[in-house]
Symmetry: C2
Subunit: 302 residues, 2 copies
Amino acid sequence: MGDLLVVGSVALDSVKTPFGQATEALGGSATYFSFAASFFTTVRLVATVGEDFPGEHLALLKNRGVDLSGLQVSHGKTFRWVGEYGYDLNEARTLDTQLNVFADFKPSLPAPLRRTPFVFLANIAPELQLDVLRQMERPRLVALDTMNFWIEGKRDELLEVVAEVDVLVINDAEARQLAREPNLIKAARTILGLGPRSVVIKRGEHGALMASDGHFFFVPAYPLDSVFDPTGAGDTFAGGFMGYLARSDRIDAGALRRAIVYGAVMASFTVEDFSLNRLTRLRSEEIERRYAAFRDLVRVDL
Amino acid sequence: MGDLLVVGSVALDSVKTPFGQATEALGGSATYFSFAASFFTTVRLVATVGEDFPGEHLALLKNRGVDLSGLQVSHGKTFRWVGEYGYDLNEARTLDTQLNVFADFKPSLPAPLRRTPFVFLANIAPELQLDVLRQMERPRLVALDTMNFWIEGKRDELLEVVAEVDVLVINDAEARQLAREPNLIKAARTILGLGPRSVVIKRGEHGALMASDGHFFFVPAYPLDSVFDPTGAGDTFAGGFMGYLARSDRIDAGALRRAIVYGAVMASFTVEDFSLNRLTRLRSEEIERRYAAFRDLVRVDL
């Protein structure tokens, strides 16, 4: 079993969906990622929060065994995000972003963290992702997420770090934007040409696909009667994906495929409630049960 | 091996896509369906064409072994459809529809056709679908397709025939419209409550799903570098689906799943060129090779 390091954001999210709302709830890419991955392996979280960050949230992560030695408590307020979703839950409308302490985030890894074998660079500025990568000592597998904001505004920096990672984990719109190619299959191939060995493309309610040297792999989304709040689904997916790889300590094609399914499993729980609420109630047996259900969803021979 | 009857349209389509155009090319739901299904079993086509219908098109179907004894040649012109697609190939914009002889289509089945065990009621007026169904003698499996036009304008008639069929084959927008439910999973369950034992929902570039008594099955779309013209993809899908069931002469859950994959296989060829052009060049080995490739796309254990 390998350990897993994530660098990203820890935030307080205020989210409104057609089905309800949550105010200043625990959020952030590194939070969803860590919590999801904690079901599989030991996670080391690298992020920053302000002095106003509620201790109960820290306790929640600590109780899941998340190593918080890389979490800086900075002078100022915690990153806040305010967004809402319409009935098409595939896209959030951002109403407000207050970076606060996140604006000056300069991750400096404590020495013991630098040797973590599995690394996830969640969606932060590409320069910071590259800086973290430079601090790592021979990681076994590095995956990276990003977003339209960096693809547009920091393309060169992003391409530099993308060239150095093993797996890119992005959504379909981002893949098209990064590759400058509307066809998703061509876009995936173009991205592989940028350096990564694999690209994992998240497609919301349509599941996910992975492309690696000529081979494609598809997983559907779990058929849910209602998606309550999609916030954090992508980061939870990445947490399940990387968590499984770290636990199995394998990075071959078969392990990557099973990891994708675990990513989809974890994401399917997150969207069932606001914030991390569903994950905090989650039991390992439920994960394995849903993993089996995912296998049944695509089983051709009964 | 069971025979397969289809009732639907035979048309001349003029289609423009960002990649080219075709004028008065062979089209129509029953045409795509029959041609695709002809790779699996004997197909009996029930439709109407005008006196202007090119003999070469009839020859094309005949050479595939399609039984044309139920094809009426009526006084007048053949049904014509003119449409175009933008870069989002998921939806066609209809520019012109000339029903011509199709406006007075009243299918009357020759006696030998009434005992065909597998029946596909392609997208025509629900009263006609019901009328055909009444003429059949104890069919083994009946599937039905429809469209927004009938869901909106002939809802009661449609519900009447839907209640009598085994499988409904529609696209995602139609499923939501028919069930009056935005969530596709709930919509599928609602549709099963209307009578059919299974509902197959086509999702274009996102593949297809089937729901039957509590079980869901998903198949992705084949990862194509370019989709040239999606016209007929849904009918080709249905042709592969029903063709496989008829050939295997089984209607159990496993056969239905394999049939869905064959449907997706056939559709993936159709979209590679205009009209039936790709299908006319298709060889059985290619079908089996792509079926195997589809299995690999979702195989979790390598």
